[in-house]
């Protein structure tokens, strides 16, 4: 069997394929065979390198040479020069845009990578059920530093300087939150970790808890030290059994090491953590609703103020932070506020984890520095749109967010820019849509969700979202009017303006942003009774093209509702009133006679 000395890895991502990586692969492989090197050099395609704008990419192992923009005709030179003579092809090497130097070893070109893992630093790297592996990666060093070398005020100052903002969606400065909670005087305070991740398609927090539970535990203890709390609570949804299991193991291990409990690291600081389970209500991600749920009451929000930092769990000052926010904390302590603040944009520091989903090739969990553009996320990290289709929109911020379009592709992603663009950061869901997606249906999808998840406490959210959903349904069915569009806009604004909590105050965002960005799609549904993407079934019409129909009767025989009439060898006709738009006729027709209008 062959023992290869070298490997040529050719990027097989969609972007690179579009720029002829398949031909390149072919040329490399035949070249290697021609030179009789097939037992020494292996040519292989790989997944996306996340560097699509410089594709196609060829990486040579073991020397880590990274060739960019390689054309099929470059194959010969790579084989001749690099493989046979051992000389790197200089003109294909990547040039560092910052230094204008050619990069010989891709180990030194981390800067090209769009992702930076801070919150996810240990995910996929350590065994989450082994505290030693966490400690080996600087785990609990930050807690140690805080307890032995820093005052709570110093830690808070450092957090403020770092510029870390809440990753749950709101973006409130974390250091400031800690400072306010510290300033509230009480005999007991609480640190709460919000692990009630509820956005459809979002699983950032779950992944952190499953992959690196100690980072959250450590950060909660640091927060407890800062705000003078001895009790921590993790509010986690019961549908996350693995995350719960790993958290439990982690808490047990931390207790056994004395990193939780009494007199931590001999400093006299006491802190321990308990779990509280949520039943999976989206509204319980709102901090007052979350607190009520933990207290054993119905998970309903209450008016702020009072803020939890003044009166929270059991009426005591409570600092609520999200999982991802906490996961950043130990790194900030270890590496310093300046280091953290050097990443990101002016007002949004650090990175953000996104769950990339939808019509995109590399669906997955990514962590990117603030300020990255949507284009980079979609085309370089995400590997572009599936099946080479046209990008239409990306939905960020989950049911509270909005849709961003082509024109926003080059906007740097941060808290403030997303709001300015009519969406929001949210907890990190990012759903990509292509030309086949109907934006009215998308708005309805999110409304379906908020109607289901509204707690029912305030009238505009309870009834308003239901009515919004009904109007959208009407439009999708082709029964809408221009007046409905006007009503939709007014009601969206009123629900935003009058709802009690963040859920209702943002739930019309998907409607408003699609109205703003895809008004013509609404008009098509209403005026022409057409769904431009062909998604709204009620608006489809199946017709038979007489010229193509040979009268084989296949369509009529397969129609479940007998909507098709016609003699054998005669032209068939679909009765539009009876047709249920199942599409069976189109599937069965061998002559391309059935079409959608």
């Amino acid at each position: 069997m062959a023992t290869f000395k070298m490997h040529l890895l050719v990027c097989g991502g969609t972007g690179c394929r579009a720029s002829e990586s398949e031909n390149l692969f072919h040329n490399l492989r035949t070249g290697i065979i021609q030179k009789g090197l097939e037992n020494d050099v292996q040519v292989l395609t790989t997944g996306c390198f996340g560097f699509c704008e410089k594709g196609p990419i060829v990486k040579v192992l073991p020397d880590n040479t990274f060739y960019t923009m390689v054309k099929p005709e470059d194959a010969g030179e790579i084989i001749e020069e690099h493989i046979i003579k051992g000389r790197k092809v200089q003109r294909l090497l990547y040039v560092n845009p910052l230094t204008s130097e050619k990069v010989e070893d891709s180990k030194h070109m981390g800067f090209y990578r769009k992702q930076l893992r801070i919150a996810l630093r240990n995910c996929g790297f350590i065994d989450p059920e082994n505290i030693d592996e966490y400690i080996a990666r600087d785990g609990y060093a930050a807690l140690g530093t805080c307890l032995t070398e820093m005052t709570p005020e110093q830690v808070i100052e450092l957090m403020k300087k770092s510029g870390l903002r809440g990753r749950g969606g709101g973006g409130f400065p974390t250091g400031l939150k800690w400072e306010i909670t510290r300033a509230s005087k009480a005999d007991q305070k609480y640190v709460v970790c919000n692990a009630d991740e509820g956005d459809p398609g979002a699983f950032m927090d779950r992944s952190i808890l499953e992959g690196d539970p100690h980072s959250v535990i450590e950060a909660m203890a640091i927060c407890g030290y800062c705000i003078e709390a001895t009790k921590g609570l993790v509010y986690i949804r019961a549908e996350y059994p693995l995350a719960i299991e790993r958290l439990k193991i982690a808490i047990k291990q931390a207790r056994e090491y004395g990193l939780l409990g009494k007199d931590i690291l001999g400093t006299g600081f006491d802190f321990d953590i308990e779990l509280r389970y949520g039943a999976g209500a989206f509204v319980c991600g709102e901090e007052t609703a979350l607190i009520h749920s933990m207290e054993g009451f119905r998970g309903e929000p209450t008016v702020k103020p009072p803020f939890p930092s003044v009166s929270g769990y059991n009426g005591k000052p409570t600092n609520v932070n999200n999982v991802e926010t906490f996961a950043n904390v130990p790194v900030i302590i270890n590496r310093g506020a300046e280091w953290f603040a050097s990443i990101g944009t002016e007002k949004s520091k650090g990175t953000k984890v996104f769950a990339l989903a939808g019509k995109i090739n590399n669906v997955g969990l990514i962590e990117v520095p603030m300020g990255i553009t949507l284009r980079e996320v979609i085309y370089e990290i995400g590997g572009g749109i599936k099946e080479g289709k046209k990008f239409k929109a990306v939905q960020t911020g989950g049911p509270s967010g909005g849709c961003l379009t082509e024109k926003h592709l080059d906007t740097p992603i941060d808290y403030d820019n997303l709001i300015a663009a009519g969406s929001m950061m949210g907890s990190g869901g990012m759903i990509v849509m292509d030309e086949d997606d109907c934006m009215v249906s998308i708005a309805k999808f999110y409304l379906d969700f908020t109607v289901e998840e509204s707690c029912g406490k305030c009238a505009p959210c309870r009834i308003g979202n239901k009515r919004l959903n009904e109007i959208l349904e009407k439009i999708c069915k082709g029964e809408g009017s221009m007046e409905d569009i006007a009503l939709l806009r007014n009601l969206s604004n009123v629900v935003k303006d009058t709802s009690l909590c963040g859920l209702g105050q943002t739930s019309p965002n998907p409607v408003l942003s699609t109205l703003d960005n895809f008004y013509d799609e609404y008009l098509a549904h209403v005026n022409e009774r057409k769904c431009p993407s062909g998604q709204c079934k009620a608006l489809l019409q199946y017709w038979i093209e007489p010229e193509n129909c040979v009268g084989c009767t296949a369509c009529a025989r397969n129609c479940p509702v007998n909507a098709i009439a016609g003699e054998r060898k005669g032209v068939h006709i679909i009765d539009q009133a009876t047709c249920i738009k199942c599409g069976a006729c189109m599937e069965k027709c061998k002559f391309n006679a059935v079409f959608i209008k």
Partner: protein, 132 residues
């Protein structure tokens, strides 16, 4: 476990575990071990990571390859679950995606035993904090 009583205790543990992990991952020493990490977050498990983990543990043992198989969290490549990372002593870690039993078998036979790569490699496309 004994309690960690001070920051120095903590540092001592860090040093010793780090050394062990380094040995496992980067050593060229004769007692070299192949390290296999299986992404075992909910997404991975749902796609069959548990079976792959069992397969790797049993087969590496059966085929007498000195190896450590451990679980880890989500690597982020949800589109390619189950994913595993294989580190052959002296070489860079390589991530394989879409691993089923057949692929796992190929990884052992071709890559671990002979250094021949198999399809399904996922280039690591992120930077770690160490390099930043």
């Amino acid at each position: 476990m004994t309690k960690i009583k001070s920051l120095n205790d903590l540092r001592a543990i860090k040093a010793s575990v780090e050394a062990k992990m380094n040995l496992r991952e980067r050593s060229d020493a004769p007692e070299k071990l192949v390290q296999v990490k299986v992404a075992m977050a909910t997404c991975g498990i749902a796609s069959g990571a548990k079976a792959i983990m069992d397969f790797m543990v049993n087969e590496l043992d059966k085929r007498q390859i000195p190896a450590v198989v451990s679980q880890t969290g989500c690597m982020g490549y949800c589109f390619a679950e189950p994913t595993i990372e294989v580190t052959v002593p002296g070489k860079e870690p390589i991530v394989f995606g879409y691993v089923n039993e057949k692929k796992a078998d190929q990884i052992i036979e071709k890559y671990i035993k002979n250094g021949e790569l198999v399809e399904g490699i996922i280039p690591v496309n992120y930077e770690s904090i160490e390099s930043k």
